[in-house]
């Protein structure tokens, strides 16, 4: 169509499931190695070499899992919304598949963030669950993921399911800042300020550098998992095409 001409060429290539399958096949090993190295190195650094917090002691080391997973849970939702918007506007199949593939990964990250937050709460606050603003927001984010996944699996027609999830994730992404703000505000209203898991006035370099390594490692892991799921989705949706048939025969 004429109206699409202004988009760069790679955009169309990305729109082709076959091209996408091939390029992710090439990228996957690199990201996998990077994820493995960064996560292993980061964990060892975090567990053995990073200094203990003067207030929280060694339970502070949980932050190296909590913060990256929380960041990833939020990023994955943003990615879903962006992919959803692209899928709705340009009717791009691959974007639909990205949305569908990102949801379970993001949900698992939200679970990890919630679990580590709760575990960290036990030695710090003395109970497994506290209605802390960040944990509550994360819980609601997890609910939003569940909604998208439930909607996606309830609709049988694949392309209808993808479009409906896209609308829902866009509605969700508009709501996330509002939810965050309202929950934080509710929290200050009901609870005196206690010290939070992640709010540190100034973290020394030997603390934040391993954190950065872990965050990048989690991003790589996310990329790996996303590409794996995406490739499965591509094969499934394109199972009728000639190139998938050839691929199956070759294997």
């Amino acid at each position: 169509m004429a109206e699409k001409k202004w988009m760069p060429r790679w955009f169309y290539q990305l729109a082709s499931p076959r091209w996408c399958y091939q390029i992710t096949g090439k990228l996957l090993p690199g990201f996998a190695v990077a994820a493995l190295l960064l996560l292993a190195g980061g964990s060892i650094w975090a567990l053995m070499f990073a200094p203990a917090d003067y207030q929280q002691g060694n339970s502070f080391r949980i932050i190296y899992l909590h913060v990256p997973s929380a960041i990833l849970a939020q990023s994955a939702y943003m990615l879903m919304a962006v992919a959803g918007a692209i899928g709705l506007i340009w009717k791009m199949k691959v974007a639909d598949m990205v949305l569908k593939s990102a949801a379970p990964i993001g949900a698992s990250m939200a679970v990890l963030a919630l679990a580590t937050g709760a575990i960290w709460g036990k030695p710090t606050w003395g109970s497994w669950w506290v209605w802390d603003a960040r944990l509550t927001s994360m819980l609601i984010l997890f609910f939003l993921y569940l909604g998208v996944m439930a909607l996606n699996s309830a609709i049988e027609n694949e392309s209808t399911a993808a479009q409906a999830s896209a609308v829902l994730s866009l509605v969700g992404v508009v709501n996330i800042p509002i939810i965050k703000y309202s929950v934080e505000w509710w929290n200050t209203l009901h609870q005196p300020a206690t010290f939070k898991l992640t709010e540190k006035p100034a973290m020394p370099a030997e603390m934040w550098v391993p954190l950065l390594v872990m965050v990048i490692g989690f991003y790589c892991l996310f990329a790996v998992s996303l590409m794996m799921r995406l490739r499965n989705e591509i094969i499934w949706r394109e199972r009728r095409t000639g190139w998938v048939r050839e691929l199956l025969i070759k294997q």
Binding site: M1, N157, S159, T160, R240, G242
Partner: protein, 213 residues
């Protein structure tokens, strides 16, 4: 103005791993009545929904007066009357109330004609009886009254004659013919043998199904 109202090119549609039609192409000129034929499950209703714009799950091109239909959606909707499987009649509303809302939905319809249209479908005297007290055939006729109100050139009718008696069918066929003679077009599916003698063209979907490669 191009001489074709609606042009369909290379239409492909697949449902549940089954190709309903592949490389389907036809065009509809003003004054034509097109009957879509095919066995049960051959995709007649799906095709009607695609043509009307309800369903977007297809590949291929549909042109309305020579323009891609996606780009002239508003004009297309203004010129379309779609009649689906469900009558679109609210049981708790009266025929008059039902039709008034349709009149509001399509600005071309004059609400003053509603009583006349109800008379045409033989519902005179039932204007203010709630539709749940009417028979199935009468409910169907409430919906068919839209044909008498409509000024749209393209009619897409999916099984319009269900639950209508013989006399009623003859009257509707006359109506379709008159619409065609005035330069309108009709695309319809029906299990009845059409009694219209005139510009009826048949398209069989069973011949358009094929496997994709």
């Amino acid at each position: 103005m191009p001489d074709q109202l609606l042009t369909v090119q290379n239409l492909f549609c697949e449902r549940d791993d089954r190709v309903l039609f592949n490389r389907l192409g036809f065009s509809v000129a003003p004054g034509e009545i097109i009957q879509i034929e095919g066995q049960n499950g051959s995709g007649k209703t799906t095709l009607m929904r695609i043509l009307s714009g309800l369903s977007r799950h297809y590949e291929g091109d549909i042109f309305w007066r020579g323009e891609p239909v996606e780009q002239v959606r508003d004009d297309f909707c203004r010129d379309l009357l779609y009649f689906g499987h469900q009558a679109g009649v609210k049981a708790v509303l009266t025929p008059q109330e039902n039709l008034r809302w349709y009149a509001a939905l399509s600005p071309a319809i004059n609400a003053a004609d509603i009583d006349h249209a109800l008379e045409q479908v033989g519902l005179r005297g039932f204007e203010d009886v709630p539709c749940h007290s009417l028979s199935a055939g009468q409910n169907r006729r409430v919906s068919l009254a839209r044909l008498y109100l409509s000024k749209a050139p393209l009619w897409i009718l999916d099984e319009p004659f269900t639950a209508i008696d013989k006399k009623g069918v003859a009257a509707k066929e006359a109506l379709l013919l008159r619409h065609a003679q005035r330069g309108g077009s009709v695309i319809l599916t029906t299990h009845h043998e059409l009694g219209i003698r005139g510009p009826v063209r048949k398209i069989n979907l069973d011949q358009c199904a094929g496997t994709s490669t």
